[in-house]
């Protein structure tokens, strides 16, 4: 899904800054509820209980049954029996699975860095005193409303036909990027960054607008240059946005699926197969239901671990600036 700065560390909540959002009611103080003494009106339970039941049924039960089947040899149909940890042991000897982890992590790291750097740079540009700001902002946000699968098909054609033809015209080696096992990932990263930057630009722009201009005025009086101003004022003040964008974009890139289907379908060979793709193919088409559930469970723990490490690391750095 999407990103939201955690309100606890959002710059907007710092007391010395004016409220930044017109839509936000000004009172932010959490008062003691007078209902604390009385019983909870029964209506509150009616509001949550059906939702909890449905959520449990459609989210938690699949997770739990999935975990259970990861200890079986279930093919997705027919009989099954418990096989203990053997699925998990096999996973670590399966080169296709290991490759998919390697590719997915590599892809996610490269894309996260590129998306965040590019989005922050463009957001800084859009936040400065440029002409047609609203129009440019509107243009940069367009990719957000476009389906990444379809964008993938368009870029597929560009990589396969237009780019080689342009390269030929320039006397460069011409070939389909996506057909080259060692460079197909570049095409996937370009497509992903093109689409994902849009959303991150808007989030960074929202963050930048929480910074009062007076701070820059003060910095100018102190004689700070552009880079110094960025390092000492802008970046620390949008630190919370940076953290949350890094964590959420990394997490969503680890689930990459649509654009790979459209661009390479995992190929050439299996060189661009992501984890989600291996689970999808093995689970639905390969009769590896139990085995791929073991893969999915490992994947779940990897995502949780990575998110925590990122949060710890980035928040510590955010605090020390």
């Amino acid at each position: 899904m999407t990103a939201t700065a955690p309100q606890a560390q959002s710059p907007a909540t710092q007391p010395d800054l004016p409220p930044t959002n017109a839509a936000t009611p000004p009172t932010r103080v959490r008062r003691e509820s007078p209902r604390r003494r009385g019983r909870v009106p029964r209506a509150f339970y009616w509001m949550v209980v059906p939702a909890v039941v449905i959520f449990f049924g459609l989210h938690t039960i699949p997770v739990l049954t999935g975990m259970f089947f990861s200890f079986t040899n279930y093919a997705g149909y027919g009989n099954w029996s418990l096989v203990g940890l053997s699925n998990y042991i096999n996973l670590f000897q399966d080169s296709r699975v290991l490759n998919s982890y390697g590719f997915t992590f590599f892809f996610a790291i490269v894309s996260t860095i590129l998306v965040n750097v590019i989005a922050l740079a463009i957001a800084l540009g859009l936040n400065a005193n440029i002409k047609f700001r609203t129009a440019f902002r509107g243009i940069f946000f367009i990719p957000y409303v476009l389906a990444i699968l379809i964008i993938g098909y368009v870029f597929n054609y560009l990589f396969a036909n237009s780019l080689p033809s342009i390269a030929e015209g320039l006397g460069l080696p011409a070939g389909n990027l996506l057909a080259d096992p060692s460079f197909a990932w570049v095409g996937i990263v370009i497509t992903t960054v093109w689409q994902a930057a849009a959303f991150n630009i808007i989030l960074y722009l929202a963050g930048l607008q929480t910074i009062p201009g007076e701070l820059y005025e003060a910095a100018a009086i102190d004689g700070a240059q552009t880079w110094r101003r960025f390092r000492s004022i802008t970046f620390p003040l949008i630190g919370a946005y940076f953290t949350i964008n890094m964590v959420l974009s990394f997490k969503s890139f680890l689930q990459v699926f649509d654009q790979i289907v459209a661009l390479t379908n995992g190929g050439p060979g299996t060189s661009t197969e992501s984890i989600a793709m291996v689970i999808y193919r093995g689970g639905f088409q390969g009769g590896e239901y139990g085995y791929q559930m073991a893969n999915a469970v490992v994947y779940l723990f990897v995502i949780i671990l990575v998110s925590f490490i990122q949060l710890r690391f980035l928040q510590r750095r955010e605090a020390t600036i």
């Binding site: 899904m1 939201t4 959002s10 004016p18 959002n21 936000t24 009611p25 008062r31 509820s33 009106p41 509150f44 509001m47 939702a51 959520f55 459609l58 989210h59 463009i122 540009g125 936040n127 400065a128 005193n129 440029i130 002409k131 509107g138 243009i139 946000f141 990719p143 409303v145 389906a147 699968l149 098909y153 368009v154 054609y157 560009l158 036909n161 093109w194 808007i202 009062p212 201009g213 007076e214 820059y216 003060a218 910095a219 100018a220 009086i221 102190d222 101003r229 946005y241 997490k251 649509d258 289907v261 984890i275 989600a276 689970i279 999808y280 689970g283 791929q292 559930m293 999915a296 995502i303």
Partner: protein, 305 residues
């Protein structure tokens, strides 16, 4: 920082209300660019960067308008003659009206159900955070943010097939349920900022808990409803994986799914394929262009919270 700083700040804050934070930006721009005027160098740079967004869109449009024999070369040349039949062919081939209707119904259903239910759950949780039961629920829902979809994918397909939910209705339900975690997160933050006195006044007038929610809280949530509505709409409209695995009936195909399914039939007929892509992208693109300011500010609001 010097004394001047504090003075400057108190003066400026006095002059600028929170609504007018735009007015502060020229200060920043003055410093980073020219002499108080527009920074034309930066404008040019941003314009060049925006071409990276516009060129693929231009390419999609012109390719959809060409006849197959115009496809040679780099493909960036303007069409010499326009072949409107591409759209008619794509319309027929992918059964476009059917897919459009499915996508629209699923999206509208998901947005409406999400707004009505998710805000309700968030309200009950936000107003009872001091109670163990509700606080526990909050963290239960929140924890789901860290659960990647692929782990749910295989089991939920079995489950929805079993329950007869492998239909558009099932998809609406799944979008509502899978969006809940994140939406509760942003709704509760917003509800916490609504003064509880408003609700108490309504209670004094004899409104029950439901009445208070529908008549007082839900209307106040309008800005957040817009944000959640936009995010849900874009998600449900463009989603590919969930319809791919859940929908069993081919006539229930959504627009992105149809592009995938018909890849084989487009074959090398690229112009028809691009017409089909353009038709699938166009509805949301048009809505976005018309409601651009509202959409962007809606998404920004979701992040400032």
């Amino acid at each position: 920082m010097s004394a001047t700083t504090t003075e400057t700040r108190s003066v400026t804050t006095a002059h600028h209300s929170a609504r007018e934070h735009r007015n502060r930006r020229p200060v920043l721009a003055t410093l980073s660019g020219g002499n108080g005027g527009t920074n034309w160098w930066l404008t040019a740079l941003i314009a060049v960067c925006s071409l990276t967004v516009l060129i693929p869109l231009y390419f999609t449009i012109i390719t959809a308008l060409k006849s197959p024999d115009q496809l040679g070369g780099t493909g960036f040349e303007l069409p010499t003659s326009i072949r409107w039949e591409n759209f008619a062919d794509a319309y027929e081939l992918t059964n476009f009206p059917r897919a459009l209707l499915n996508t629209a119904l699923i999206t509208v259903g998901a947005v409406v159900l999400t707004l009505v239910t998710n805000s309700l759950v968030a309200y009950a949780i936000a107003r009872n955070m001091h109670r163990k039961f509700f606080k526990g629920l909050y963290f239960y829902f929140l924890a789901a943010i860290f659960v990647p979809f692929p782990i749910i994918m295989l089991p939920v397909v079995k489950e929805t097939a079993l329950l007869g939910l492998d239909t558009p209705v099932g998809l609406v339900l799944l979008y509502t349920v899978y969006g809940l975690s994140f939406n509760i997160f942003i709704f509760t933050a917003y509800i916490n900022s609504i003064p509880i006195e408003l609700e108490e006044a309504a209670r004094m007038d004899g409104a029950g808990t439901w009445g208070v929610f529908w008549k007082v809280v839900f209307p106040l949530l309008a800005p957040m409803n817009a944000t959640v509505g936009i995010l849900t709409c874009v998600w449900a409209w463009n989603d590919f994986l969930l319809p791919l695995v859940i929908l069993s009936d081919p006539s229930a195909q959504t627009l992105p799914l149809a592009q995938y399914v018909f890849q084989g039939q487009f074959n090398t007929n690229y112009t028809v394929a691009f017409a089909s892509y353009l038709m699938a992208l166009a509805p949301l693109l048009v809505v976005y262009i018309v409601a651009q300011k509202w959409v962007v500010s809606g998404v920004m609001r979701g992040s400032v919270k």
